[in-house]
Subunit: 316 residues, 4 copies
Amino acid sequence: MSKIKNVPDQTRKGEDLGLDRNAEKGRQRTINRDGSYNIERKTGRLFGNFYLYHWLITTSWKNYWLVVLLFYAGMNVIFATIYFLVGVEQLNGIHEGNWFTQWMYCFFFSAQSYTTVGYGGIHPVGETANFIAVTEAFIGLMTFAIATGTLYGRFSKPVSRIKYSPEILIAPYKEGHGLMFMVANELQSSLVEMEARVNISWSDVDASGRPVRRFQQVKLEIDKIAMFPTSWVINHPIDEESAFFGKTPDELKALEAEIFILLKGFDDVFSQTIYSRHSYTMDQLIWGARFRRPFFVNEKGKTVLDLTRVGEYDKL
Amino acid sequence: MSKIKNVPDQTRKGEDLGLDRNAEKGRQRTINRDGSYNIERKTGRLFGNFYLYHWLITTSWKNYWLVVLLFYAGMNVIFATIYFLVGVEQLNGIHEGNWFTQWMYCFFFSAQSYTTVGYGGIHPVGETANFIAVTEAFIGLMTFAIATGTLYGRFSKPVSRIKYSPEILIAPYKEGHGLMFMVANELQSSLVEMEARVNISWSDVDASGRPVRRFQQVKLEIDKIAMFPTSWVINHPIDEESAFFGKTPDELKALEAEIFILLKGFDDVFSQTIYSRHSYTMDQLIWGARFRRPFFVNEKGKTVLDLTRVGEYDKL
Amino acid sequence: MSKIKNVPDQTRKGEDLGLDRNAEKGRQRTINRDGSYNIERKTGRLFGNFYLYHWLITTSWKNYWLVVLLFYAGMNVIFATIYFLVGVEQLNGIHEGNWFTQWMYCFFFSAQSYTTVGYGGIHPVGETANFIAVTEAFIGLMTFAIATGTLYGRFSKPVSRIKYSPEILIAPYKEGHGLMFMVANELQSSLVEMEARVNISWSDVDASGRPVRRFQQVKLEIDKIAMFPTSWVINHPIDEESAFFGKTPDELKALEAEIFILLKGFDDVFSQTIYSRHSYTMDQLIWGARFRRPFFVNEKGKTVLDLTRVGEYDKL
Amino acid sequence: MSKIKNVPDQTRKGEDLGLDRNAEKGRQRTINRDGSYNIERKTGRLFGNFYLYHWLITTSWKNYWLVVLLFYAGMNVIFATIYFLVGVEQLNGIHEGNWFTQWMYCFFFSAQSYTTVGYGGIHPVGETANFIAVTEAFIGLMTFAIATGTLYGRFSKPVSRIKYSPEILIAPYKEGHGLMFMVANELQSSLVEMEARVNISWSDVDASGRPVRRFQQVKLEIDKIAMFPTSWVINHPIDEESAFFGKTPDELKALEAEIFILLKGFDDVFSQTIYSRHSYTMDQLIWGARFRRPFFVNEKGKTVLDLTRVGEYDKL
């Protein structure tokens, strides 16, 4: 089935992607279009691959607030119950009422201690309650450090919002063709020292006829730019060394070819290295087209990058 | 118009800058003299390229304080109104007065809860008010984490204050000439492993007579220094490979030549990589001059770097 | 005794490990199986190699909490005693009782000031007590910054949980053999740009017959992968240049051969470089086996990495 | 005077150090023995090279605490005066007394607001005082973020405590000699990927007889080690390319030769790059000696690095 000859050296380079070369039918893509790995991790242990800090930083906002609020409520329920069991007479300012009302005011006192707001409307008078209260204030300060730290960590997490052209083009380049896609920085943050690495993969059969998946890291016309103010067309010239050389669009579709991209840059405002991953499949391939420039010079002579036009192209 | 012959290889390298090669008349420079990109971003979405954390860190101090104070005031207006609607009888210590006075004291109580100062002069007695108060203290702690975190982020943002010579010189170098500018570290912080990259650009016409902009990354005599205690003269020897080779000052001006600089270093006190960008235009070019040393040895034998003299030169 | 000929060039490379080449009998391994250095540091000074921040971040949780709680308690004992000596009449709200009861309430007041909870049930009225209280609140805020900072530092410490295959295999590779082990990322965090470096060491005798330890950094089939979604078999082809070339399992055991691994990667969620160290000894060596794939495609077509199966192999 | 012939290529490399080549008599060294730059910065502007964050992190502890305490006291003096001017009747709980006593209690109330301890013994009742109090609490939270942040920044500042041998040796190496010094990591923190760069400098006269300073980056036997568990002897083989080739100890002293070292490593616990600088002058040079091993294997077979013995040598 494969029309690409088995090129051991290129295949070895392809393994550099850390991806599996076996190709079952109906297999999902291993890298999602948003760049994340489409891999499930199974572990023998409960919480075997769970790392709380990572989870708190990367989970959804809904999950995050749910966990933080449940923890806050839970801690206060525990301390409220302790104060209640110690005896409400050890707390000054607790309202009269049935046991539930009294427990409620223990809860309020607990939360006032936990957040260190400490109005004093309710305050401990007995020794045991006093001792518990200073312990709770300590625990409150320590655990809020985790809550506020992770909140800020989520808030300040380095993001790269690289816009990729929706399609990937095969355009004339020199005497032959080039495989081209366009990227642009959506944020005003200034990226410098951008690097691109592109891998392609396709289906093949091995010597024994078993279907396998082959990989190749491809050469780029330019794989590094010093500054990235506007947009960048990344171009893989399809020469004899390229696995895509001499292929027709239908052949590439039959080969279930896929293109993996890893971009790296440095955000010089935040002094951080930024990565961006992306992949294209063959239904995003346009044969014989050329990207339009997504920027123009306005009446004041200023260059304007129109992000809505990143990826616009002209059929040739 | 162009007297620089079309050098494809160099032009390709020039694209490394990620800059546009088209050259409209009256176009503004793409890199400002302070190193920032002079690019406007247009996006289809509202807040399409807005990233709150980046904005809070990089906006002006005026904007920053405006936003933080408005948020603080706004949150307290909201909570004050809630307490007021719940009923002032649920708060002990609210002054007698008309509804506005009472709302004002709700506002004060809210701010005392929000900042966790909690004097207790006013304190919640009703269950609803108590519940809202512990919620507000929680929200206060969490949102102040963003406010104090971004304040500290702004305060501790890695800065590089590299002083560039106001002029760029063409000075005799070996048998020919060199294009030279001087840089010095304005801060006492010690930079190590400095690297420089210099690109030049000029106007040209392409095969079809359309005006284009050409780029070339130029060779430097020394592009890396291990330590950077005083000053550094960065020298591009203008040999046959340089696009500036054989040009007169007037020719360079006619070509609207521009020089882009990217400096990189490592601040070994803060363990951070630092970048600095700069550019020169042709009205800053001095022909036939040589930089003076901006440092001297004082009476105690200590080397003194005089930053006010960085860029001083002698006409030859 | 050594059957590996003395290869000066390789030995020099081996010194790259920074390990000692002398080989006493009964010597412990210098790198533990968990990757830490098994080295004791002796210093002439008391606390000569002690660095408090490092210690607070890397010590056990038990030690950490012990120190933090003792410090919190100790500070409050000191301030309680100061308030007590200043005189309890300077504090409003102190309970009647013997001196110990009064000291206890001084302690509670101190803790309420230190944590800034400040209920006000007890509050300073005298000038001296007021002055000490505002000093204590200041000290409390500053020292809690250290406590909460180190707590968060421990919590957010970059971890790499790389799973290594329990055994290291010698498997057929091309015309000869390869030394192979398998690694997988236990966490969902996505590592990119993985690099591996492998060194081997063995016992030998030098020209004068003294036992020495030799080292060699070995060549790998692939020493870099761009992405690391599943698992990676790291393979050292045992060719003529390898110190293990032509050795039998018994010979390797007699040579007390050891394999040191250094993995490096970049966690692109946290923008941090991650290192992992590991080592294998000869009782973990399996001759003539091949690793099974630790992942499979489930019914939905999704790739599942089964971490419990990392390192499973088939005898050949 | 110079017996080292003028080697332009080496000299150019030497400029990589970013050091001055002019050599006045009685000049102080440009790099102190502790690695810091011995350079004074002069600037035309007041605070021209002052960067508050850098200063707060790098100044002495005495200066740091002085500034932080003065700021804390100063802010409270300002707010105390404002409350006093607004009128003490707006504060509940102010003691009777003369104006100074009343101002004192305004000061205590201010500090209770600033630290958010807010006992409530004194609390605002008037609207103006209430408004000022919530403003002060806000300012307190924001400015304490700077104080606690810089305190933690100082506390957690990456340190490298590399111990250098007090002397630098010229020892037999192969057929010739090597210039050798020893380094060891004083801390238990594990450094990996160590790199060394060594530059030498010496006095010379240029073509016109003016005294100049020459530099050369010298070749090292090994300039990179993967791990750094014990000690490392860094060796510059003095071959024909070395500026020190064929020199006697007296000649080197006459040339005022100096040796500059830049070490770089990665602390894999804190995920930080660490630099260390050092320099040797000729009065630290020992001719014909060899370093002793500073580590030994104790009775349990464990390797012990004795930091007090780093740099011990045997005369040959």
